[in-house]
Symmetry: C2
Subunit: 207 residues, 2 copies
């Protein structure tokens, strides 16, 4: 047995724009840093509801929403990622989150995650539609129909609820969020590098 | 006469934590990029009120607030900046914003800005207090008492209102924000590098 390396839990929401930016680069960035990622789809809906929001803050605050889409367009262009804003926004990501949860954390979750985010934000298709989820997973070489079926498994549903509860317990209020083994919380695609640095060094590099 | 170089307008609010991180490095970062900064203190209060908020979102949403202070502590440590959370938070930054507005944009505004932010967030003193504003400006080698007096000048008050109106017109909803000559808006200390790149290249560098 080898000792496990530094670990980082990545919480992401399937309807979250900045989660798209983060998950598409997460596996490579973590590998470069020598950090093992726990891939944790979770649901922001219950967290937003507890704050009194019934939709995304990007819809509730139009100036912030307009800015977010422009910022996403600029950053996706710089990263070479396609961007087609989904309609409706935010999508209901429950089924897609459950389908990912049905996969092994250290196996096919990264691939399934990227496929579903690329479908949601790179093509604008509605991932609330089981056929869309199935096609995205098939396209990634996974068994789409079987995973859509397994998404309804009570154990899978419970595991997704547990991931959301763990996020709340860690202080998560938005997505993506990253939590180190010593409990440090980092919020946003912008903080991925900080989170990886903390996971390996226990501190941020001096600027 | 030499042709003016690329320009960037920096909107900052004296009570804003992430504005502290940005303004302390703004002059050096802009000089390295060859960009001329228009230093624009403005007021977030009217913008927050229009969104239905009567205080900072960091107070309205406790999980977000707890995270922000921890994030600030980590990032200030990495940047070698002192951090003492002001009480009350947010401070009323009106007087300090007016005192900076009384100075020439291309003259002493950068120095006055850094002095007042360092007092507000590096010592936790309340910049709503005229004596605190005066001392901070004196400490930066400026005429504190005279600037506090000039803050009450109707032309200075009007200039600060105009800066806030200009921010709203540019789509600003938070601080710090950066606006390029071609109208691109960048929000947050995290976007300063993007803003400088856009000001000089008209695009973000590929990642």
């Amino acid at each position: 047995m080898t000792a496990p390396g530094p670990a980082l839990t990545a919480f992401y929401e399937l309807a979250s724009t900045y989660s798209y930016l983060a998950v598409m680069r997460l596996q490579d960035a973590a590998a470069r840093a020598g950090v093992t990622i726990a891939w944790r789809p979770f649901l922001l809906g219950p967290i937003f509801k507890a704050q009194g929001w019934d939709t995304s803050p990007f819809n509730l605050y139009p100036a912030k929403g307009r800015y977010m889409w422009r910022d996403m367009a600029r950053r996706c262009a710089a990263a070479g990622l396609p961007l087609v804003p989904p309609s409706p926004f935010p999508a209901n990501g429950l089924l897609a989150a459950r389908a990912i949860t049905a996969l092994a954390d250290d196996g096919d979750r990264p691939r399934a995650t990227r496929a579903l985010f690329r479908t949601a934000f790179g093509t604008g298709r509605d991932i609330a539609d089981p056929a869309v989820v199935r096609d995205a997973l098939d396209g990634a070489g996974l068994e789409g129909a079987a995973l859509v079926a397994r998404a309804a498994d009570p154990a899978v549903k419970a595991a997704l609820r547990a991931a959301t509860d763990a996020a709340v317990d860690a202080g998560v209020f938005g997505a993506p969020s990253f939590v180190t083994a010593d409990g440090e919380l980092f919020w946003g695609d912008d903080r991925l590098e900080d989170a990886l640095a903390w996971a390996t060094e226990g501190a941020l590099p001096a600027r």
